[in-house]
């Protein structure tokens, strides 16, 4: 047991207690949490500062307005419904199209108006929100993800999670939905995590259910070696999010849209630690290095470059 302990220590793995005590509690001011916990506020903030996000079609705030849903989406064939205060991808409903007056979900199920309205009212009553407080439902643009990931995703939208520390990107991973994860992109729910070489934007090794894998468990396509387009631009976008909300230890989820390029999907004030498994390396060395920096470049693209530099310098 202590052998494992010291090995993890040497590998620079950050544990949950250390993440909370040394990074989240120290660098994330509590008063800033609502900026990221409320996806609606994040979206407004991002739009104001010109950061690309999926277009918002409408918001449903009270039970009475649930009936307006069909009105909101009448011009859109496909869309996504998500709770403003959701976490872990819960409560997100992706509609890919319509058939015979019903909505087709990404799982293939057909939903009636009634079923979809029930889902929205569940969101409003706070079923998916932290602490169960009443919530809002966002209806937004469904990302048409980049064909790059077509072969390595099973339904759902793969996203790129980047940890940004003091505005400097530290590590990234692609989260690929699988059948097991039910289209969701959370590793503990069964999604595949793939590390990214921060310097080149190329996917490295993949981890599924804590085991290293080579091929996607559902599609069988090789995962490593994929080159993510506009990589530096994507990192810059992640770095910009720090200016947006001011959280020192931030998780930025970005999706690659076929037409619109990188879009910021959501921000997270307590990003998980699985990114270390996906990248096959601990975060601590990098985090400590950045912690010692006295000055942080003001320009987001400079910070992105700095992050890439650090990543290379500490490569094992």
């Amino acid at each position: 047991m202590f052998g494992t302990w010291s090995k993890l220590r040497r590998a620079g793995i950050v544990g949950m207690n250390q993440r909370n005590a040394d990074y989240v509690l120290r660098y994330n001011k509590r008063s800033l949490y609502p900026l990221v916990d409320d996806k609606l506020r994040t979206k407004y903030l991002a739009t104001e500062s010109g950061i690309a996000v999926p277009e918002l079609y409408g918001v449903i705030e009270i039970e009475h307005d649930v009936a307006n849903l069909s009105d909101i989406v009448k011009d859109h064939n496909d869309f996504v419904i998500k709770p403003a205060h959701g976490s872990g991808g819960n409560g997100i409903c992706v509609i890919t199209g319509r058939l015979n007056g019903r909505y087709r979900q990404n799982s293939g199920d057909l939903l009636t108006d009634e079923a979809i309205e029930y889902h929205v009212s569940n969101i409003l009553s706070g079923l998916y929100s932290l602490g169960g407080q009443p919530d809002q439902a966002l209806i937004e643009y469904r990302v048409k993800f980049d064909p790059l990931f077509e072969a390595v995703s099973y339904r759902g939208v793969p996203d790129i999670r980047t940890i940004v520390f003091r505005g400097i990107p530290v590590a990234s991973m692609v989260r690929l939905p699988t059948r097991m994860s039910d289209g969701k992109a959370n590793l503990h729910q069964g999604a595949v995590g793939t590390g990214i070489d921060l310097a080149t934007g190329r996917t490295t090794h993949a981890v599924w259910q804590n085991y290293p894998i080579e091929q996607h468990p559902d599609t069988g396509a090789t995962i490593s070696g994929l080159e993510i387009p506009h990589w530096h631009k994507l990192l810059t976008l992640a770095a910009q999010c720090y200016d947006l909300v001011g959280l020192g230890y931030l998780g930025v989820d970005v999706v690659l849209d076929r037409e619109l390029g990188p879009l910021v999907l959501e921000l997270n004030a307590r990003p998980g630690l699985s990114i270390q498994i996906a990248n096959g390396r601990g975060l601590r060395e990098l985090l400590e290095k950045i912690e010692q920096l006295e000055e942080i470049p003001t320009l987001a693209s400079d910070r992105a470059a700095l992050g890439q530099e650090f990543f290379m310098a500490t490569q094992i």
């Binding site: 052998g3 993890l8 793995i13 207690n17 005590a21 819960n90 009553s125 729910q189």
Partner: protein, 511 residues
């Protein structure tokens, strides 16, 4: 800086908690374990008499005050409608009962609870005034003179001198020359007093003490006499029958000297009776009374000053921090996932009432049935709060049903299901079914077993009687628990489950 602050704070908390507890143990004498009991003696003086018509009643009863070797833990007076006053001066204490008019048989009681206390500090002895030689009746002067002379020849000091005198007067066949003196003594009905009177002839200071031998279930009609003579340094007790020195070990002094007398006015057919009984008391109670006696107010503000039913509530409440401590350990050191942060503590509290095995069975039963019903309600597509309320209603009905069935089956422990916190059960069912849907049954079972595991460990910790007693008698020990929790709040090492989670790193890097 922050670390230092925390360190100082925890040190301060530990020092305060342990210091207070140490003070309570050593100075007040609180025992560290619950089982310690001590003997106490209940002494009762019962005065019965018949009131004379048309006359006021006044009763004076001498009371024990600071009997050497004993402390009075408690005393009370039972005297319906009598005016009661307690007077105390240098010579002792008396209770004065008074009533203007009474009819028929009357009873007055005085009760005291005594505790044998080796630690009572004997009062400093004031050297008495050496008595003048009394003026004996002329016929007795030569007799007494002869008695004293004989004793003086056969003795070395005050004590042996007095012993010789007592022996001579108590001899089975007294010397013929003493006959006159003995007759005189018999007339006064008070051997002790007479002895003092004779010893005064040799200018020996003496005093009479009266008291009781503490023997279980004994009754006495009068107090026993002992004579004390002053040997120049201290009072030495002598048996007035055989002259032996020393008081019996179980003798409690009720009265010193006869300045205070039992008197009664306006009554006939009076009698006084003393009875003694032995009982056991928890040392904690004794310590409380003793500290009050010593003038320490610490125990007055302890939990023991609360009414008993509130005390029982606090016995449980004071264990909750320990449960919370277990949760901290299990979550931050081990890394077990639970439904809700302190839900396991509440379940553990319920286990205390139901006992462990039954608690687990009933919990699984209710949650299992609740999940089935919840799955059914799910189809109705209800809003969240009405759905929770409906599940709650069903949980209550389920609990009632389980109680009735268990009762019919003769399984009385099954009735304790009513003690489960049903709101917590409802939330558990709701959260479990959500986790089930969103993360699969495996995750749901993982979390429910995690919760139960933490609850069981919490229950086992909170159910240690010794700890329960300790926290109740020394609530300041919770400051130590607080200090440890605060320290754990800055623990940033790995959790036990993380060693498993990140095991890939340990495997790939042989060292």
């Amino acid at each position: 800086m922050r670390q230092l602050h925390l360190l100082l704070l925890t040190l301060m908390l530990c020092a305060t908690g342990l210091g207070l507890a140490y003070y309570k143990v050593t100075v007040i004498g609180l025992p560290l374990t619950a089982s310690e009991q001590a003997e106490v003696w209940n002494i009762e003086a019962r005065i019965s008499f018949r009131a004379k018509p048309d006359s006021a009643i006044k009763v004076t009863l001498p009371l024990p005050s600071d009997p050497p070797g004993y402390s009075i833990l408690d005393e009370d007076f039972v005297s319906a409608n009598y005016g009661l006053a307690i007077e105390q001066d240098d010579f002792g204490r008396v209770a004065l009962w008074a009533k203007r008019r009474a009819q028929g048989k009357q009873l007055l009681f005085y009760r005291a609870v005594l505790f044998k206390d080796e630690e009572t500090i004997p009062k400093p002895v004031m050297p008495p005034v050496y008595p003048k030689v009394p003026e004996y009746p002329e016929s007795l002067v030569p007799v007494i003179q002869g008695l004293l002379d004989k004793a003086r020849q056969q003795s070395a000091d005050t004590v042996s001198f007095s012993q010789r005198v007592i022996e001579q007067l108590n001899a089975t066949t007294p010397a013929p020359e003493l006959k006159l003196l003995l007759e005189h003594i018999n007339r006064s009905h008070n051997l002790a007093k007479s002895l003092g009177w004779i010893l005064a002839g040799a200018r020996i200071p003496s005093q009479i003490i009266r008291g009781l031998r503490l023997q279980d279930s004994k009754e006495y009609t009068e107090l026993e006499y002992f004579l004390q003579v002053y040997d120049g340094q201290q009072w030495r007790s002598l048996n007035i029958k055989d002259g032996r020195e020393g008081l019996p070990s179980n003798f409690v002094v009720w009265q010193v000297n006869e300045n205070k007398q039992f008197t009664i006015e306006g009554a006939s057919e009076f009698s006084i009776q003393y009875s003694v009984a032995r009982t056991l008391r928890e040392i904690v109670n004794i310590a409380g009374s003793r500290s009050a006696e010593k003038g320490s107010h610490l125990m007055e503000f302890s939990l023991y000053s609360l009414p008993v039913h509130i005390q029982n509530v606090y016995k449980v409440l004071l264990m909750i921090p320990l449960g919370a401590f277990v949760v901290v350990l299990m979550r931050n050191l081990v890394g077990i996932k639970t439904f809700g942060t302190f839900m396991p503590v509440l379940i553990a509290l319920a286990f205390r009432e139901t006992e462990l095995l039954w608690g687990l069975i009933l919990f699984s039963l209710i949650v299992g049935l609740g999940l089935l019903l919840r799955a059914y309600v799910e189809q109705l597509k209800l809003l969240l709060v009405p759905r929770l309320a409906s599940v709650l209603t069903m949980v209550v009905l389920l609990m009632a049903g389980v109680s009735v069935i268990m009762h019919k089956l003769g399984l009385e422990m099954g009735l304790s299901v009513a003690l489960f916190p049903m709101v917590i059960m409802t939330m558990t069912i709701e959260r479990m079914s959500l986790t089930w849907e969103e993360a699969g049954p495996i995750e749901a079972f993982k979390q429910v077993t995690g919760s139960l595991l933490v609850a069981v460990i919490g229950y086992l910790a909170m159910n240690i009687d010794e700890l329960q007693y300790m926290f109740f008698v020394f609530p300041e020990l919770l400051l130590v628990v607080l200090a440890i929790i605060l320290l754990l709040g800055r623990y940033s090492g790995y959790r036990l489950t993380e060693l498993w989670r990140f095991r890939a790193f340990a495997r790939n890097r042989p060292s």
